[in-house]
C-alpha cells in the first residue's frame, strides 16, 4: 500500500487509478473545497447528486492544477507520430553501485516516459476495427533525413511545349470506334483495329501518281517512316529528361556502340573467338625482338603461341632428321604403289581424254561449216595447257614410256 503514496517536494501524492497523482488535501483545503461546492451561484438547498457533480468539477480543476505542477517539474518531449518520448532533465547524480539497480532505475524512467506517450496515444479518436481500436496517428514531429532525393518533375516534351504555345487541348478519345466497313465496334488501336492497312481493298489512282509505283507498299513505307520519326523524337525527349535527372523509374538509356567510321552504321557485334584472335594477332604484331607487351592483371595468355607451321630441320639428326625422309617416302609410296588406282583413277582419266578429243573434232567440223577464219590458234593451245595440268604424272609416264 505504501507504494501508492509518493513524496515530492514535501507534499504527499497518492497515485490514483488513472495514474495521475492526486494531491492530498489538507484539512483547511478540504473545508474550502466543501465550502465552494456548497456555496456557489445557486446557494439553495442542493441535492446530493448536484453536490457530487460539483465536487467532480472542482476535483477536475484541482487535478488540472496538479497536472500543471507535475508538468512544470518534468516536461517530456513527446512525439506521438514516432511513439517517441524524450526526457532531457534526468541525470544520474551518483551512479548506482550494482548493475541490477541501474537496470531497475532505467526501467522506471522508461516506464514514466512511455506512460506519457500512451496518455496522448490512447486519447486520440479511435475507430472500431475487426482486430481492435484503430487510431489515426499525427505526422511525426522529429525530422529525419530522407533516404533518396526528392523526385524531380518530368520536363515537358517538345509536343507538350508546342501544344501549350498553340493552345491545343487534349481530347478524350474512345477506346472503341464504329467501323463502317464491317459494321461493328472495333478498337482504335491494337489487334483487329479500325483503319488497318491490310483492310483496305482498293486505293484509287490519282493524276499525280507515277505509273510503276505500288501504292500499298508506299503506304507501308510511309508508316514505317512515321514510326521511326516518333521513336527518334521519344529518344530526344528522354535524353532531355535524363539531362535534368528526371528520367522515369522504369526507363534506362543504354549507349550502343560508337561509330568509328564516317558512316552512321554501327559496327557488327564481334564474337568472343574473333576478339580473341584479333587480340592474339595484335599481341604478336606489337612484339619485336621476342619481347611482348606486359599482360594486364587478369588477362589470359594467348591461345596459339609461337609458329603455326612446323618445318622440319634441315640437318639430319638421329631421330628428328629421318622424319623428312619418311614423309617423302610416304608420298612416293602412295603414288607408285600397286593400289595407286585408288588415288588416281586411270579409267576415268582415259575417258575424259577421249571425250575432250571428240569434242575438239566436232568443234572443228562445225567451225569449218560456219566460218573458215576463226581463231583456231588459241583453242588448241588452251587445250594443250589443260591437258598438261590435269594429267601430270600420267603424261610424264607416257613420255617416259615413249
Amino acid at each position: 500500500m505504501a507504494k501508492r503514496y509518493i513524496v515530492n517536494d514535501g507534499k504527499l501524492f497518492k497515485r490514483g487509478l488513472s495514474g495521475i497523482r492526486l494531491r492530498r488535501l489538507s484539512g483547511d483545503e478540504a473545508m474550502e473545497v466543501m465550502h465552494q461546492s456548497h456555496a456557489g451561484t445557486l446557494a439553495e438547498h442542493q441535492g446530493g447528486l448536484w453536490v457530487c457533480k460539483k465536487l467532480i468539477c472542482l476535483l477536475a480543476a484541482s487535478r488540472g492544477k496538479v497536472k500543471m505542477e507535475m508538468e512544470t517539474q518534468k516536461p517530456f518531449q513527446v512525439d506521438v507520430g514516432n511513439l517517441l518520448a524524450f526526457n532531457p532533465f534526468h541525470n544520474f547524480s551518483s551512479l548506482p553501485t550494482s548493475r541490477d539497480e541501474l537496470v531497475k532505475e532505467c526501467l522506471e524512467e522508461g516506464t514514466k516516459l512511455i506512460q506519457a506517450v500512451a496518455d496522448s496515444l490512447f486519447n486520440l479518436p479511435s475507430t472500431e476495427d475487426v482486430d481492435g481500436p484503430l487510431v489515426k496517428l499525427p505526422p511525426p514531429t522529429t525530422k529525419l533525413p530522407r533516404e533518396k532525393h526528392l523526385p524531380k518533375p518530368k520536363p515537358p516534351t517538345k509536343w507538350e511545349e508546342f501544344a501549350k504555345k498553340k493552345g491545343i487541348k487534349k481530347r478524350k478519345k474512345d477506346k472503341v470506334v464504329w467501323d463502317e466497313q464491317t459494321g461493328t465496334w472495333k478498337r482504335r488501336f491494337g489487334y483487329d483495329r479500325v483503319n488497318d492497312d491490310k483492310d483496305i481493298p482498293i486505293i484509287e489512282a490519282k493524276m499525280t501518281d507515277e505509273p510503276g509505283e505500288d501504292p500499298f507498299a508506299k503506304r507501308q513505307d510511309d508508316k514505317k517512316k512515321r514510326v521511326e520519326k516518333q521513336e527518334k523524337n521519344r529518344l530526344q525527349n528522354l535524353k532531355q529528361a535524363a539531362k535534368l535527372g528526371a528520367l522515369p523509374s522504369h526507363v534506362q538509356l543504354a549507349a550502343t556502340a560508337l561509330p568509328i567510321t564516317g558512316t552512321q552504321a554501327p559496327p557488327k557485334k564481334v564474337t568472343k573467338d574473333e576478339l580473341g584472335n584479333v587480340a592474339g594477332m595484335a599481341a604478336t604484331s606489337t612484339a619485336s625482338g621476342g619481347k611482348f607487351d606486359r599482360k594486364l592483371p587478369g588477362e589470359k595468355p594467348a591461345k596459339k603461341q609461337g609458329k603455326h607451321r612446323k618445318f622440319l630441320p634441315v640437318i639430319e639428326g638421329s631421330g628428328i632428321g629421318s622424319r623428312e625422309k619418311e614423309q617423302t617416302e610416304n608420298v612416293l609410296n602412295k603414288l607408285i604403289s600397286k593400289h595407286s588406282h585408288g588415288i588416281l583413277n586411270v579409267g576415268k582419266a582415259v575417258t575424259m581424254y577421249n571425250v575432250k578429243k571428240e569434242k575438239k573434232a566436232r568443234n572443228r567440223k562445225n567451225q569449218e561449216g560456219k566460218s573458215s577464219s576463226t581463231s583456231n590458234k588459241l583453242k588448241p593451245k588452251k587445250q594443250l595447257h589443260k591437258k598438261a595440268a590435269k594429267k601430270g604424272p600420267e603424261s610424264s609416264k607416257k613420255r617416259k614410256a615413249k
Binding site: S18, L102, L107, L113, P145, H149, L235, H250, A254, A255
Partner: protein, 330 residues
C-alpha cells in the same frame, strides 16, 4: 590533318547512339517502381554485415538486431575485408551493396584489439554515405538469457515505443547524433493508422555517462486502470547492451540541408466516380452491371415442382396401373 581528325572525333562523341531499355516483365517494372525516389518515404531497410574478424558477442549482437528488424533487414554473413567506413576509399563496397539491396541504413560489426566489439551504424543518402556513428558493445545480454512469460513476447514487425532518458542526449554532441541514428534504426515504418491492441514493445535508452548509453528492449504489458489509458508495465525481454560512443562523423552542411528537404504540397489523391458541382455539391456515380433477366431464378416455384401436383400425378399413375391389372385379370 590532325585538326580535322579531332573535329570528326568531337562530332562522333556528340552523336552517341543510345537506345531505350524498358523492362519486359511486369515484376521487374514493379520492383523498379518500388525503388524509385518517392515524395513521402516509408520505412528504410537495414543492411547488417561484418568485417574480417568478429567476436562471439558481436555475432550475437548482429543476429539479434537482424531478428528485431526481421521485416526490413538484409543480413550478409561473409566477411568483407575491404570495408573501412571511416576511411575515404573504404566506402565503395558499402555503397555498392546499398545500391543493390536498396538499403539506406547499415550496421557493420568488426572486432580488433584496438576497438573490441565495434559496431558502426550508418545512414545513406542516395546510396552514398551520409553519416556514421561508431560504438562499442559492452555487457551484452542476449534474448535467451532473459526469463519471461513467453505469451507476452512482442510480435515481429510491431511498431515500438521509444524512450530516451538523460540530459546527455541534449548536451553532448555525440550522444545527440547517436540518438538520431538510433531513432532512425529502431522506429521501423512510418504508419498513419495503428491498432491499439497491437502495441507490445518498447526500447529504452538511458544515458549513463557522457559517452555511455544503456539500450534495452522490453515487452509491454497493458494493465487496467480507471480511464481509457491503460497502465504500462515494462518487462525486459530482448537484448540489452551498453553502447560506448567511440567516433562519429556528421554529414556536410550542404548534404544535410538537401536531405532534410521535404515536399510541401502533396498531390491530392483523385477519388474515382466522385465529382463536385457548384449547385448540387458532391455527386457520385454508381455503375450497375447489366441485369440478365432470363437467368435469374424465379421467386415462385415452377408448377411442376409443387408437392400437391406431384402427389396427384402419382395417384393417377397408380389408378391407371390398377385399372390395367383389372382389365388383364378380366
Amino acid at each position: 590533318m590532325h585538326l580535322y581528325t579531332l573535329q570528326t572525333l568531337r562530332f562522333c562523341s556528340s552523336a552517341i547512339m543510345m537506345r531505350i531499355k524498358t523492362p519486359k516483365n511486369g515484376r521487374v517494372r514493379r520492383e523498379l517502381e518500388k525503388r524509385a525516389p518517392k515524395l513521402v518515404e516509408t520505412g528504410k531497410k537495414t543492411l547488417i554485415l561484418q568485417g574480417t574478424k568478429t567476436s562471439g558477442t558481436l555475432n550475437g549482437v548482429l543476429s539479434e538486431i537482424y531478428h528485431l528488424k526481421k521485416g526490413g533487414a538484409v543480413r550478409f554473413t561473409r566477411k568483407n575485408d575491404n570495408i573501412r567506413p571511416f576511411e575515404s576509399g573504404g566506402e565503395t563496397s558499402l555503397e555498392f551493396f546499398s545500391l543493390k539491396t536498396d538499403c539506406s541504413l547499415f550496421v557493420y560489426g568488426s572486432h580488433s584489439k584496438k576497438r573490441p566489439n565495434n559496431l558502426v551504424i550508418g545512414r545513406m543518402y542516395d546510396h552514398h554515405v551520409y553519416d556514421l556513428v561508431e560504438v562499442g558493445v559492452e555487457n551484452f545480454k542476449s534474448i535467451e538469457s532473459f526469463n519471461y512469460d513467453k505469451k507476452m513476447a512482442p510480435r515481429v514487425g510491431s511498431k515500438p515505443f521509444i524512450a530516451f532518458v538523460g540530459e546527455g542526449f541534449e548536451n553532448v554532441d555525440e550522444l545527440k547524433h547517436l540518438k538520431e541514428v538510433l531513432l532512425d534504426l529502431l522506429r521501423g515504418e512510418v504508419v498513419e493508422n495503428i491498432n491499439l491492441a497491437g502495441v507490445d514493445r518498447a526500447y529504452v535508452c538511458t544515458a549513463i555517462s557522457s559517452n555511455k548509453v544503456y539500450l534495452t528492449h522490453c515487452a509491454l504489458r497493458l494493465k487496467k486502470s480507471g480511464t481509457v489509458v491503460p497502465r504500462m508495465e515494462l518487462v525486459e525481454v530482448g537484448p540489452s547492451m551498453d553502447l560506448v560512443v567511440r567516433r562519429h562523423r556528421l554529414p556536410n552542411e550542404g548534404l544535410r540541408k538537401e536531405a532534410m528537404r521535404t515536399a510541401k504540397d502533396q498531390p491530392k489523391k483523385k477519388i474515382k466516380n466522385v465529382s463536385s458541382d457548384a449547385i448540387e455539391g458532391t455527386i457520385g456515380k454508381i455503375y450497375i452491371p447489366d441485369q440478365k433477366v432470363g437467368d435469374v431464378a424465379l421467386p415462385n416455384k415452377a408448377k411442376g415442382v409443387k408437392r400437391e401436383r406431384r402427389e396427384a400425378k402419382k395417384k393417377e399413375a397408380n389408378e391407371r396401373a390398377s385399372k390395367k391389372q383389372k382389365e388383364e385379370s378380366e
